[in-house]
Amino acid sequence: MPEKERTTDNGQRTTDDSFVRRYIFTTDHKIIAFQYLCLSLFAVVIAIVLSVLMRLQLVWSDSVQPDVYLSAMTMHGTLMIFFVLTIAPQSGFGNYFFPLQIGAEGMAHPRLNALSFWIIFLSLLILLSSFSNENNVIGSISGWTAYPPLSVLGDGKGLDNWLISLSIFCVGALLNAVNFISTFLRSRNIELMELPLTVWSWFTASVLSLVVFPVLLSALVLLFLDRNAQTSFFIPSNIYIGGQIIESHKDGSPLLWQHLFWFFGHPEVYIVILPGMGITSHILSVFTGKPIFNYKSMVLATVAIAFLGLVLWGHHMFTSGLNPNLSIAFSVLTLTIAVPSAVKTFNWLATLWRGKIELKTPMLYSIGFVSLFVTGGLTGLVLGQSGLDSAMHDTYFVVAHFHLVMGASAVFALFAAMSFWFPDMFGGEMNERLGKIHFFITFAGVYAMFVPMHAMGMVGMPRRYSSFEEFEYLKDLQTLVKFVTIAAVVTATAQSLFFINLIWSVYRIKRKNKK
């Protein structure tokens, strides 16, 4: 009888444990990485379906109720930001490759690692339980930013679910960040200036998480108290809503929430995109047969982005009535962060220059990342100027900007990572032809969806509207709205190619191994 090997504390995979012990309650960082990736894949499917439903609603305005639209929008944003774009690049691919790339046996705290996953899993379950809420509304209608007083006085039980879910998420994300940081600090014999850029970006994103998730957690708890314990952190006096004066709250500040939320919210976009930048740098270097150009400046740019990212949250609040002089500082700082981003772009281009370019699928996705990141990033030059933001704020211009710069580009980095590391994870390659078809449709689709949105924003089309039929000046845009919806349906459908490729490739490899 073979010796029964237990799951070891340093995260090594056991040989003959039960399925449950090996794949469910495991402490192996590689399996935990798979768990995170599966969770993200599950979340992204729901998020894609919701986005298609939203686009259809904008074409056939009578199809669903406005609050159903708003709750779908909130759920789409929350799932994408937290459960896909925060989890997959960092907790998913990071968990797998970060320890390997610094020569560690696993994450520093394997049990904590498993605990983080189950906390995040619980958080997702709670968020999704909103689907069964009253009036067919899929949870909160306040948007992923949940601005009070609306979120306190004008939203249903879905928002409590949202608050509990995200509070738990913060704890999971925080423990995960601690684990990355201590794994990094515990590693021996590493030369800082020789580390892969992926390691630098995962580490930097972890430090950012450590700084900002506690702030979000405290804000969420305060908002929960405002809703359920009649405290007044965010609710001012003399509120009159729904035909009655609210006497249970007084002297709070709605702007305090905005500060706390965006102090988290802005660095969050760098938590999302830094791992993507690291992955892109790595892949560009491999498929050009060259080391990344000016490696040191890449490291410095990563750190600079993280540092500057912490001090420019106010650019989300230019129109909020923030002290106008403060906006000047936030505006200048915002345009300053474009400099390290430009350094990265320059170095990526210089790496491609005269490279021996192999256009395999991971490389295509990485080139797509650079293209989308630059296109989306450039419009930040408009939004970062407080004067210009006053017109573009809360229009489709912003929707286009952030979807390109930290939505689609981060997703492209995930596609790149999956196809690039697939051989390491599964022992065989993904299908190249299917991968390329998926790349070209998605790349064209993303541009087809988001370029017209800039035009809509310039005309003044507000975001978070479930219908545009009330306004004369938006009627001319109806053709563009339809065009974007068609592009969205096609692009969303094309994602099935990626899923088919993924599942089919895994199945094919497993079958081959059995033989």
Partner: protein
């Protein structure tokens, strides 16, 4: 973009198109480089690190971006500057789910006091105006914003429920209206006409329906309107909106 109808719009448009020009050049340059470098794949000669090029690039981008940021401050300064004239047309704006309320001072140029406890939706006193006050007698409440052309307009804005945002696309600015905070903003309309007012901050399920009109008319017309009673004002404005 819709044609600008205020003096702020002209300043805005200059900076906007300058920024879009810089963006356009950078966009074309980067995407072309991507295309050309991929197209002209070669034997993969290693490009040596070159700190000097990087420093030049950092300085170049820093100068361009900071120039934009500094020039952009002129737009911001124009938007936030207080009117430097006494001749200001003042309107008090109260936003609520899902309608706009505009409060005019009438002929005495004095606004009546508003109190939350006096709000009476049944009597269409949506802002709680104390009608017993002497200075409130000639005040006019309307869901339409009527302002004179070529004169500085100052809006004093507040909300009595959730956060809203005042947005008229041809005016080129929006201003959030956060409950508990009174915000002032001024602009000078330069074109007469009828324009749509939208809410640009998510304020609930009917957010997309929170609509009203901005009517820019001649100064004489505004003066005449201010002398009317509440009902006469409403009838005249309804005619003007047609």
């Amino acid at each position: 973009m819709p044609r600008s109808i205020s003096d702020f719009g002209a300043t805005f448009d200059r900076q906007f198109y300058l920024t879009m020009f810089v963006i356009g050049v950078a966009f074309v340059a980067v995407q072309c480089c991507l295309g050309i470098f991929i197209w002209r794949s070669s034997e993969g000669k290693i490009t040596k690190d070159n700190l000097r090029v990087e420093i030049v690039w950092v300085l170049f981008t820093a100068v361009v971006f900071l120039m934009l940021a500094l020039l952009g401050q002129r737009v911001w300064a124009k938007l936030i500057s207080k009117p430097n004239t006494e001749n200001v047309f003042k309107v008090e704006v109260t936003a609520q789910q899902f309608q706009w309320n505009f409060h005019y001072a009438g002929i005495d140029h004095l606004f009546g006091t508003t109190k939350t406890e006096l709000i009476n939706d049944a009597e269409t006193n949506y802002i709680g105006l104390d009608r017993n006050e002497e200075k409130a007698k000639d005040d006019i409440l309307s869901s339409v914003l009527v302002v004179p052309v070529n004169r500085v307009v100052e809006l004093t804005m507040k909300s009595h429920d959730v956060t809203h945002s005042f947005w008229v696309a041809p005016l080129r600015f929006k201003q959030d209206i956060v409950p508990g905070v009174t915000t002032k903003i001024s602009f000078k309309p330069t074109q007469t006409g009828k324009y749509e007012i939208a809410c640009a901050e998510l304020c609930g399920a009917q957010h997309y329906k929170m609509k009203s009109y901005l009517l820019v008319v001649s100064e004489d017309e505004v003066n005449k309107l201010m002398q009317l009673s509440q009902d006469e004002f409403q009838t005249t404005v309804t005619t003007l909106l047609r």
